[in-house]
């Protein structure tokens, strides 16, 4: 690899990390730094971007910049909690399957394969059809859909380190399963899980946006990016800004997560060499 491409990647990584920090701040501080995202200005409905409303207003005259900033909280929260849940559940299942092997592994792997056979958006949609649209349910649905992916990656990573000498040694010393898993297995499989977590966050943001866009995600009034795209759909011809800005917010967030995920993965590959 030549110097210029190292520099490019480093710059892209730094840029993406900076963007994600800004998103994080927006999610944390949003309501305090922007105008009220729910306040309606009936006289200024569908106002074009201006000095007063940088991103314009929606059909109810609500300030779009405020809604995009506050939407970061809803969209990122759904993504972080759902990926966190699938990391926990999938990680645990994968650890059990990989570490104990045998029948537990056979059973868990079969169920996993069955789950992975469903196109993710469709499975999430079907779950939402059963549960009904709400922020909690969309978080759960995305968590269920991504659990098998984490289970598979964890299982694979555990299988790779299980034959290592230090695990054998720990077992020979008579350490309990719990202790071996927590002290010796877990710290050595963190790498692939971190990469997968970053990339899954990107997918989760896209999934929430798609589900909310279809009206099967967060509650109708919630300022989530997907919901804003759903609301903007009918006004495309009259007011492009209602759809364009939330979509850009999603793309930039997902792009940054993907750049960071790629960077972390490349770093792992380089370290392994």
């Amino acid at each position: 690899m030549n110097a210029s491409s190292v520099r490019l990647r480093f710059n892209a990584f730094t840029f993406a990390a900076a963007v994600l920090t800004i998103y994080g701040l927006a999610a944390l501080l949003g309501p305090w730094v922007t105008a009220d995202p729910y306040r309606m200005h009936p006289d200024a409905a569908l106002a074009a971007p201006s000095a007063q409303h940088w991103f314009g207003t929606d059909a109810f005259g609500r300030d779009l910049l405020s809604r995009v900033v506050c939407g970061a909280r809803t969209s990122l929260l759904v993504a972080i909690v759902s990926v966190g849940l699938s990391l926990l559940a999938g990680g645990l299942l994968g650890l059990c399957a990989g570490y104990f092997g045998g029948r537990i592994d056979a059973l868990l792997s079969r169920v996993n394969d069955g789950m992975l056979a469903f196109p993710d958006v469709l499975l999430a949609l079907a779950i939402m059809a059963v549960l009904g649209a709400s922020t909690t349910n969309v978080t759960l649905a995305i968590a269920i859909v991504y659990t098998p992916i984490f289970a598979r990656i964890t299982r694979g990573a555990v299988l790779q380190i299980k034959p290592m000498n230090y695990i054998e040694a720990a077992r020979a010393l008579g350490l309990g399963h719990c202790r071996i898993v927590l002290r010796h297995v877990l710290p050595n499989i963190v790498g692939p899980l971190v990469v997968q977590t970053t990339l899954s966050l990107a997918f989760a943001i896209l999934a929430e946006a798609a589900l909310s866009f279809l009206g099967l995600g967060v509650e109708p009034d919630a300022p989530s990016w997907g919901m804003m795209l759903n609301e903007g759909r009918d006004w495309m011809e009259l007011a492009w800004w209602v759809s364009v800005f939330p979509g850009l917010a999603i793309t930039l967030a997902v792009l940054s997560l993907n750049i960071v995920g790629d960077g972390l993965r490349d770093a792992r590959v380089r370290a392994a060499r």
Partner: protein
């Protein structure tokens, strides 16, 4: 090869059973009496009795599952309570639209994504490489349905180049149909093309770094010969696998894309089933999509063994 084929076919059975179990459980998880869930409100006692009989609804769950599975295997997925038509017929009627959409998306991935990935790998660090890599990242990051809406905004509403809205069947007017399917196909295909580009690039870079490529170069084989005769064939294997996995994305993504472009495909059928609480129809479409996904990947695996004989030999 026949042994490999058989082993692979048998290995699909437990996965399909798992798929059917999830699809079955999905409808059973809907709160309420399964008769009401499946028939919708306002059914007659006779209809209810027939349904109870058919799916053994008064018996324990495992028996119910077997009764349902037996019917499903015979191609009977029940009836849509909204239209009364058989679920299988509803799916088969909508299938051509979804297949056409997926085909355009896949063609886009193959014609744009793969060549870009190869060029990018052969000339690393050049401006086209940077552009392709950035394009690949944006392609996997942009929500397909939003990209579709932007395409409508630019090409239909502003420039008036391509029509959107009202669907025209391929058999009615092929030219008009293709004009209307171009934007949805592009919207669905962007992410697939991006994944294809990224996979092709990394696979080519891998192959170019191998000893046999160096040997070929040392023997005086031209760069063109190395790329086309040696590298490409080896790099194709991961690309084909990844494209097979993208079939799942195509099936799921088409739900949203069909909604944006008002296309009467299987994805839209699933959405109608959801909004109408038509659970037999929903169960059918979900089961169909997952089964299709499993079978596509089976086909890809077999294709994979065809491209690379080492695979079927190694697994013996």
């Amino acid at each position: 090869m026949i042994g490999y084929l058989l082993r692979r076919l048998i290995s699909v059975i437990p996965v399909l059973l798992g798929v059917s179990l999830v699809a079955f459980a999905l409808v059973r998880l809907v709160p309420g009496d399964p008769v009401t869930v499946l028939l919708g409100p306002g059914y007659s006692p006779e209809e209810a009795a027939v349904l109870r009989e058919r799916y053994a609804l008064d018996r324990p769950l495992p028996v119910q599952y077997l009764a349902w599975l037996t019917r499903a295997v015979q191609g009977d997925l029940g009836h849509s309570f909204f239209t009364g038509e058989p679920v299988v017929k509803a799916i088969v009627d909508r299938l051509p639209v979804t297949l056409e959409l997926a085909a355009i998306a896949l063609a886009f991935a193959l014609l744009v994504g793969v060549p870009l990935g190869i060029i990018s790998a052969v000339r690393p660090g050049k401006w086209l490489d940077h552009l392709a890599r950035f394009g690949g990242l944006v392609g996997i990051s942009i929500p397909g349905f939003w990209f579709g809406a932007i395409l409508i905004l630019i090409f239909s509403l502003n420039l008036g180049l391509l029509p959107s809205g009202r669907f025209v069947h391929l058999t009615d007017d092929p030219v008009e149909n293709v004009k209307r399917m171009l934007m949805p196909g592009l919207a669905l295909g962007t992410a697939v093309a991006a994944v294809a580009m990224r996979t092709a690039r990394s696979a080519m870079l891998d192959v170019i770094g191998q000893d046999y490529t160096r040997t070929a170069r040392a023997k005086g084989v031209s760069e063109r010969g190395i790329v086309f005769r040696h590298a490409l064939r080896n790099a194709l294997v991961p690309v084909v696998t990844v494209l097979g996995l993208q079939a799942g994305y195509l099936l799921g993504g088409s739900v949203v894309i069909e909604q944006v472009f008002s296309l009467p495909g299987v994805g839209r059928l699933a959405l109608q089933a959801i909004s109408g609480r038509d659970y037999a129809l929903l169960q059918g479409t979900v089961l169909f999509a997952a089964t299709a996904f499993v079978l596509i990947n089976l086909a890809v695996d077999l294709l994979y063994a065809r491209i690379d004989p080492r695979i079927r030999d190694a697994r013996r």
